[in-house]
Structure formats: C-alpha cells, structure tokens
Symmetry: C2
Subunit: 328 residues, 2 copies
C-alpha cells in the first residue's frame, strides 16, 4: 500500500513517518511506498525499505492538491494546518490553508476518482478548538461546535466537509479531535498551551520551566505514543460501522497541573521541583480557562482508541522515547 502524509514535517507527521518506516506496515498491510510533504521538505525517515518521496509543496495551491491526489495513495494523513495563533492573526491565510486547501484536496480526489475509481482512507486531525466555553463538566460525543477562534471554525468546517465527501463516497474519511499532546518533544514554543509540556520536559532535562497558571487548572491530554496509536488505528480499522458520523473526540487523560507536578515528583524526585518557576500570567490563565478540560469519549473508546491513564505513564514514555531511557 501507499501512505501519504501531508504535514509530514510537523511533530506528529515526523513521528508517524518514522514509526511507519520502522514497522513497514499499517493495520497488517505492507507499506510499499510513502509520500511525505509539507511546506518545508520533510526528513526521510530511517530504516524504511520501500520507496519514499519527500518534498516541499504549498498545500494551499490547488495544483499541489491535484498532484497529490494523482498519486492515488491508499491512506492519506492530512495533518497540515496553520496553527491557532497564526490563523487568528492572519485571517486570509488561516482560511486559505485550513479550509480552502482541505477542500482543494477533497475536490482533487473527487476529480481523480472520476477518471478511475478511487476512494482513499483520509485521516484528518481536528482539534478541541472546535469547542467553545461554557462547557458541561464532561463533554459528550454529541456536544455542539461553537469555536471561539478562526482556527477552530476552520477545523469544524473541514470536519463537515469530510463527512459530506465521505457520505458521497469520495473518500473514506475519519476526523480525530486530538487532546493536547503532552509531553511535546523539542524546544519550548510560544503556544499558550506550551507550559503543559514545558513543566515536565524541561525539568526532566535539568532545565528550568515557567508555570504561568495555578495548580488547579485542568486540561485534556494524550501522550505522543497515544497520538501515534490514534493515527495508526484510524488509518487501518473498518470505518463503515461509524456510519455518517466520522468525527470522534479522541480519548485522553483529564488532569490538573497539580497532577502533572505530582507525577513529575514521583518519577524524578523532589529535588527536580526546584526547576518549576511560578510566574502567574493572567492572559494565559484566561485563554486556558476557555479550553475544554474533560470528555466522555464513548464512541472512540468503543472503536478501540486508547490513551494513557496517568501522567506517570506519559512521563515514563517520554523518558524512554526522548531521553534514551534515563534521566540526566
């Protein structure tokens, strides 16, 4: 089979390509080739025995979508997006990349399918940003989308497109609303959600981290291993039993900042706690208060999606996967 990853230079795309390269299969089917694309040229993952085409391309250009669709990949992972902050700041770019480009891709697949039958599995990563406060204590599977950012609006619109194009038989689509991925590897970034990862990743590496909110702040998390599990599962299971409702709230771990810190202390010892610097930031506190913090993702669980059940598990996986198995 042929797997395509659009957005292959991002954190999830890179990890997915590496994982598929190592396993060489998806859902038990041999992967003969991979197409990896992003706005920057994605790295070619090590250890893959099949053919890899990795190239930079502007996904918001309709001609690029036509080129991608013409490759007739069996599974397309569409992970490409302008992030929340940028989509809010650059109105036109957000709609062009996060909405129009998805539609270009769907229409390009439709056009290719009219030449000769083609109906790829399309795995689309959506976001908790499709939800807007106020929330019930736990968000159920049938809760409505009232995004409070343009990014969330664009994701919710793409979900609707995905379901309509699936209903029409153009793609076999599934949308995954991912929890906040934690511990996010790499350098601290300026995303408002960055501190959730920073306060674990940095102290684990012997570096200071700033905590801008109170310990009672609750949020919805999944580790990178779960994220990979979600993507592999979504790329391989039979989706017909989902019917028309092709967008799922992924399972996760509802935990407070206090829970994160308690797990950090448990795994790395009390001395590491000195690396947490408390610098309350009212702006970040206000932004975070508008995010959902707990879900009842029954359908996703029924369909076999699984997430971590404790921050200890998330931290231990990070140490194994990113720190070579030991603390410095």
């Amino acid at each position: 089979m042929h797997v395509m990853i659009i957005g292959a230079a991002g954190m999830l795309g890179r990890k997915l390509a590496e994982r598929l390269a190592v396993t060489g299969a998806l859902g038990g089917r041999h992967i003969a080739g991979m197409t990896l694309t992003d706005i920057f040229e994605p790295a070619v993952p090590a250890g893959f025995r099949g053919q890899v085409d990795a190239f930079a391309a502007d996904f918001a250009d309709p001609q690029v979508s036509r080129t991608l669709a013409a490759r007739r990949a069996d599974v397309i992972y569409h992970l490409a997006a302008v992030v929340s902050g940028e989509a809010e700041q650059d109105f036109d770019k957000g709609y062009r990349v996060n909405l129009d480009a998805t539609r270009f891709l769907l229409d390009a697949i439709r056009a290719v399918g009219r030449e000769a039958p083609y109906r790829p599995r399309l795995v689309f990563t959506s976001s908790l940003a499709v939800f807007g406060a106020p929330f019930p204590e736990r968000i159920g599977d049938s809760y409505f989308c009232t995004p409070q950012t343009s990014y969330g609006t664009q994701k919710a619109m793409c979900e609707l497109l995905l379901e309509d194009y699936t209903r029409r038989g153009i793609v076999d689509g599934i949308g995954l609303r991912l929890p906040t991925i934690c511990i996010r590897p790499g350098a601290p970034n300026k995303a408002a959600s960055g501190f959730f990862s920073n306060i674990l990743r940095e102290p684990l590496a012997g570096r200071e981290a700033i905590l801008p909110v109170g310990e009672d702040v609750r949020h919805w998390f999944a580790g990178p291993r779960s994220a990979m599990g979600f993507l592999e599962h979504a790329g391989s299971i039979d989706l017909a039993p989902l019917g028309h409702r092709r967008v799922l709230n992924m399972p996760g771990l509802s935990a407070t900042v206090g829970d994160e810190l308690a797990a950090l202390r448990e795994v790395a010892g009390p001395q590491v706690m000195r690396l947490i610097r408390r610098e309350p930031d009212p702006l970040i506190s206000r932004i975070v208060a508008g995010w959902p913090s707990d879900f009842l993702p029954r359908r996703a669980l029924d369909f076999g999606f699984r997430a971590e059940t404790s921050f200890r598990e998330i931290i231990e996986a990070h140490i194994a996967d990113e720190l070579g198995g030991t603390l410095p």
Copy 2:
C-alpha cells in the same frame, strides 16, 4: 434604516418584504429603503412609502456580493439558497451557492468595512437539515451537527462562518434554524416535506391531497406568521447577550400527521376529510424518518422567539391570511 433581502423572490423573502412594506419599520426604526434581490427579479411590495430597489442578480457571483455590500444596508436578510434536493443532485452548484456565496458576502462586507466602519446585522436562515439521525427524543440547544445532506452540510458550515465573522466584528450575525414552515402557501411542490402542508392547504381549498406517510409521523413545525416573527425579531433585538453562540434552534410545534388531521377536521368539519387520499410512499417515509421531530429550544424562547402552540392556530391563520378569512 435600509433593509436588504437576499432571496426576496422566495416564499419567506416575499412575505417579509410585504410585511416590512406595510409596517414601514423594523424594531421601531423607520425603514427608508429596501433592496430586494434574488436570482429572479423580486416583486415590489405594495404600500411602501420608501425607496425600493428590486433586481435579479446571481448571488454566487462575487461581484454581486461586492455590489450588495457596497449598499451598506443596516440589516441584511440572507435567505438565498439552492434547496436540499438540488444541492444533493448538483454537488458543485450546491457548494457554490450555499457555501461560497455566503462567504463572498461576508468577505465583501469585511472589505466595505475596511473603507469606513460597517457592521450590519446579518440574519441568516439555516435549517433542521444541519441535524442527522439518530436523535434524542427532544433535541436540545447544544446538540451537534451531523448533516446527512450536502445542503445541511453547507448550512452548518455557513453557521460557523457567521459566528466567526461575528466574533471578529465584521457582522452582527444571527442564524435561525427554522422548523418546517406549514401551511406553506402556493401550489403543491415536489419537496419530500410538501405533504405536511398539502394535506391541510388543499382540502381547505376544496381540493384533494395525497398523504404518503402514516398518521403517527411526528415533525417540527411553525406557521408563516411565526416565521415572519422570527425574522423581524432577529432583525431588531440586541444580540450582544447571545455572546459567541449566534445560531438558535427556533421554537416550533411538535405534532403528528394525526394532530394535523384532527385540527383540520375541527376547523373545517368531517366532510373535508374525504379529500385526504392515503397513498403510502416508502421512499418519503424513509426520508421523513431521518428528520428531527422535537426540540427543546430554550435559548430561543429565552430571547423572545415564539411559535404557534396548536395546529388549530396554524390553520386559522392560514384561512385569515391566504383564504380571505373564509372557507370556500
């Protein structure tokens, strides 16, 4: 003030223009001018003392949106759409008219607002088609959108756009998810929902009507008077208390076909019942079974929207408004 109706040749648009022409005001504010447009040239309503511009224009042409926005209407009623069946049959036309044209309008308003401040009230008519079965017994205000038609998909996408452009301060938007309007005046049409009106309107006029479903079929209704009330109310109330959540399920009457027929007998006498011809149609039964039949529209009620409470009331209003006050 200046009121614009896009889709002014349709049933609701025509009635709204007639009503505003007679009252000459909206929410207590004098209407100095009206712009009426549709794909066919709308009729100029009688009795209006202000300026009326009525013209045919293709709303799916971005240049038309720019022309409309440049008029700087205070209130814009956007009622234009390709109907459900046509949007399902003609994929591209549905997306062009029902999605792209709305975005053209929003972007044209944004462009006009950059030249000099402009933030019109935008009243958008949405539909129960944003919902897809299976349903809870009564659909609450926070139930999710899983449309099962391209029409419903396009309406749900426009709702999201409306909320994002409102949040950005480009329009002061409100979306109304209308119940099935019954008794729909005019000739019987071929819409799958047509029989709900036909079985009352036709016998009341002394003509036969076909009933294709069982009497236990339940649906969600509002009369044309309520629809006018919704539109006037939405065009005039302060929307700020709605916050970001600008789309409301309109109130209605949950009733069965049996309830309709009982009210018909009550108002028009038992002899009229002979005009109902029962011709079961499995296709129509199947389509109707996928439609929502009952709601708990708390927010709309809290904001002062009101619908009829019995089919007797709906039938009597029809006799008064469409049949000159008496049965033939």
